[in-house]
Every structure is written in C-alpha cells, then in structure tokens.
Symmetry: C2
Subunit: 332 residues, 2 copies
Amino acid sequence: MLSDQNIFAGADVLVTGGLGFIGSALVRRLVGLGAKVTLVDSLIPEYGGNLFNIHDIRDRVNVDLTDVRDAVAMSNLIKNRQFLFNLAGQTSHLDSMTDPLTDLNINAAAQLQILEACRLHNRDLKIVFASTRQVYGRPKYLPVDENHPISPVDVNGINKLAGEWYHLLYNDVYGIRACALRLTNTYGPGMRVKDARQTFLGIWIRRLIEKKPIQVFGTGEQRRDFNFVSDVVAALLSAAASDASPGQIFNLGHREQVSLKELAELLVRMNGGGRYEVVPFPEDRKPIDIGDYYADFRKIETQLGWSPQVTLASGLEETLRYYRQHHAHYWE
Amino acid sequence: MLSDQNIFAGADVLVTGGLGFIGSALVRRLVGLGAKVTLVDSLIPEYGGNLFNIHDIRDRVNVDLTDVRDAVAMSNLIKNRQFLFNLAGQTSHLDSMTDPLTDLNINAAAQLQILEACRLHNRDLKIVFASTRQVYGRPKYLPVDENHPISPVDVNGINKLAGEWYHLLYNDVYGIRACALRLTNTYGPGMRVKDARQTFLGIWIRRLIEKKPIQVFGTGEQRRDFNFVSDVVAALLSAAASDASPGQIFNLGHREQVSLKELAELLVRMNGGGRYEVVPFPEDRKPIDIGDYYADFRKIETQLGWSPQVTLASGLEETLRYYRQHHAHYWE
C-alpha cells in the first residue's frame, strides 16, 4: 500500500526518540521511502537511545540531541513538519516507581508541551503517538481489545495514559490529527538489552549471549504477545498515512501468544544453546506485574489493513544474530 | 455515626485547599469535632481560596499559605498527620485548555509529589482525595456509576484522573490508605461566585443577586445533579473514618436531577425574583461540554452509609441568603 502511493517521499518528518529502538528502525524505513527526517533524542543513558542504531544512515538524517522536556526547542522543532512520530518516552516500569516525577515530566508534561507547540505553531502536522498496553493494567478478559477498561498498575501506565489522552483531546478539540498505537512487547535489532528497562526480553537475550541462564520470574506461565520491530514500524507508517486514524486508538498484537517459559525455551532453541531458570518475583516487581496479557488487534487489522508478518521464531533468530554480531555496541 | 465514635477529636489533620469552598466547610466541621487542623492554601486569585471563608474560625486553625506545588514545604507539612484531605486543585475546565501545563502541575504533578512525601515520611496517614465527575467525560449511560468508562473531554479531566490514580496506586503498592470521591456539582455558602471557574452555578447566583439575567448555555435541557456542601463534607468525613474506603472510588450524587432550565427556574423562585435567558454555547465551551450527567451513588450509600440530606430547594435558599449578606467578600 505504501509503495503504491508513497506519501513520505520528500515529506518533512520529525521522530522523537529517534535514536531509540523503534525510533531508529522507523527512521531507517522513512529514509528508504525518501523522507527528510529529523530525529530528536536526548541519549539519556538509562533510556533506549544509541547512536549505533543509526550507524548505517547517519549521513542521511538530521540528528538533534534535544530533550523532549525542553519546551522552547521542541516548539521550534515541530514547525513546518508534516509528520510527527512521537516515540520518546521513559519506558521502565520500575524506574517510574522510584522516580515518578521524571516519568511524569517525560511521559505526560513533555507531551502536553509538544501538543501546545503544535496548537500554537503547526496544526497541520499529523501525529502518531506510541502508547503502551500498560494502560490496561491487569487484564479482566483476554484478548484485550481497545474497549477494555483502563487500570494502570504503575506510575508509568498512568503517565503514558495521560500523554495518550492529551493527543486524542488535541485531535478532537483543535483538529490536530493525532492517533495512538498501544504497543505490546516489541523486540528486534536495536532494542535495549543492557538491562530490563525496555522489556525483560532484552536482558534475556543479553544473558543468553553471555552464556548465563535466563531468569523467568514467577511461575513462567504468564502469557504474552510480541511484535517484531519491522511490524511495529509498518503499523506506525500505516497510522500516519491513513485518513481513518485521527482520533483513534489501536492495539498492536500478534496471533502467537506464548507463556514466558515457552518463550524462554524457544529463545534457547533459536540460539542453539543456553538455559533458563524459573525464579520468584523480585519484591519490587511483584505488585506491578500484570499477569497474562495479549491483545485483540482486529481494529487495526480491519481499519488500517495491518497485521504482523514476522513469526516469533524468525524474529528471535534475527534478533539473536544481530546481538551476537553487535553486542559490543549495546552492553560493553 | 461520627458523633458516636469521633475519631477526629484531637486528630492531627491536614486539609489542602483549606481556604476554598469545600475545604473551608470541611475545616469548620473538623474544628467542631475537636480536630487539630492545619490548612494549606495558596490563595491564587483565580482559584477558590478566600480568607473570609474561615472568618469565624480563624483563631482555631493553623493557616499555611503554601502552594501544593512546593514539594519541600508539602513534604514537611504531611509529617505526623493522621489525616490528609487533599482538596487543592485547579478546577476551571476552560483555564485547563488555555494553560494546560499549570493544570498539570497542580492536579497531577503536585499530587504525585505529595504522595512521594507520604511514601518517604508518613505511610500511616489516611488520605481522601477530591476527584471529579469530569473524568467520565460525556456519559454513555445514565446514571453514571463507578464502572462507567473513563473518557475526559478536557485537560482538567485528564490531569484530575492522573491525580486520582496516583492515590489509588500508592494505596495498592505502598499501603498508604487513600480513596477518591468523584464529586459532581457542589454548591453552597463559600463557593466561588465571582465567575464560572468552579461551577456555572456560582456565576448564576452572582448575576441573580446583581439583578442580571442568568445565562443558560445550549438548549437548557442538559440534566445535572447537585450536592450541597454540607453533604459533601459528610461524605469526606465518612470516607476518612471508614476502614472500607482505602483503594476505593466513590461517586457522589443526588436523587434530584434537574435540567439547567429547571434549575434556573428554581433559583429564580427561591430568590423571589429574577430571570434567565437561554443563549448559544460560547465557542470555547462547546467542545468540552459533557451534556447530561447524573451519578449513580449507590456504592457510597451501601458501603459508607452516605446519602445526600439537603434538598436542592433548601440548599439554594441557604446559598442565596449567604451571598445576599456576604457578597462584598466574594466579588467586590
């Protein structure tokens, strides 16, 4: 669909969190489509930004090391853009509990500042906001569709929800076209694997490559769904391209749902070796764990024609291959 | 119930927004029950604080003119308290749209700072948070119970919701006992009547006393419920006293629901004169109006034994009498 009618060719696109995992993959694809891309990233060490993520396209994008909390700088950066992919965020659930105000400032206040800048300086740009399944909290039914009650179990979930709703509100009240994708676990080359700040799958991959056992928390029976990064990039582009998306929330998800134990087994198999151990939940994680989660993503399938194309096995294989080759850029 | 077993006698109580409409009425009742009350209020001119609201009890309370955004001061103020009635807030829906960051800082960030202070310095205090029906947005069914979907239509609704959820989260994760009451339109002596920043009913009362016509926006058919301030104070005290309240959300409401036109007629009748006119919605209010709203308050009725005791007619009569006598302290 996008290749038939490439609205991104020559388009002026801003990507916040553009040195991060999903941001950099999106930027690479946009560059391939001929977009003029400016990416914003603060490179805060605890977050997902990593210059290596764009090493192959470094000379084809504008890199701006602004923090999204800098209202004045962001106000200038949004001017004259046609698209804003708003991906910058604090993603760690645990960090949101130990430093909740920082999470609020990035995931809520900075979002409101960006939208205010759009209201004042550029109401014509189109925004796609990266939200999270975390806003649903512990599922009351499965799979979780977009009508599922909202009930975040950590500060991160509350602040991401506020950030998401500001976007929908500015769409409804001011006509600034914006939509939100509620992402589930995303994985692939470029993800943060140094620790578990982005997803537990990151540290699993690192430990496997370091020949240490993967640690599965709890019973290992918790079921989850996973999207390979190229599928998430396709969803972001579809949402930006569609006239049906403004004002809407879309779940991402995958037909394959696996228990964490099954995932660990699959990962060990794709790695051709390694092992995992089931250990009790750490005290700080237990109260904010959400149990089973997998999404009903029929809305985006029906309305935007998106569905995940990459199987878990092939996605994990590609991810492992990447980190075996490039791990020095991610945790050394 | 409260008189049988007065847990507030001698109790160390902090009330934020204590010079405001509901705050000052609560403080007066707490003083009557023998509590040692410290009230916090920033007296920002656009908000509800008014020293005249405590003129009769001024020497029986500690007044601290701190802004709840001052994290260090609030951190000291919560120490050694047994109860916190957390009522300070930015209440204007319109102001939340023209200055959304201020709304966020007061209704969300300051709340998170207060809860952080409790987590670090006083986990034993019990908190009642004054939330708002605004978090529901435009009702999908009536009456609105606590399970109604959340869908705020303005920045104020989003930020109040975040503030509310931080409280419930700190209850669940850290065991800091907190609950939230979702208030509907509250009215009575001490309300802000200078303008419509607290509720449209305020400016109606002012205009009636000034012998100007009341302006009813839209069709005048929108139905709403109203609580007299003494009933809201009773609910706040019940919530603080009960062992069943922590972690819970309770709607307030009233059996009497009236259309805005009926309300205007009743107000004119109780005033013994005056008139109203139905005028189109102002442009800035239309997109954030919620239409019909009235609450299902059976949860608080069942669980805390609260129900509203004051009829709309008698509450309005008392309110009009108050402002005829004291209007010089409220709008001159």
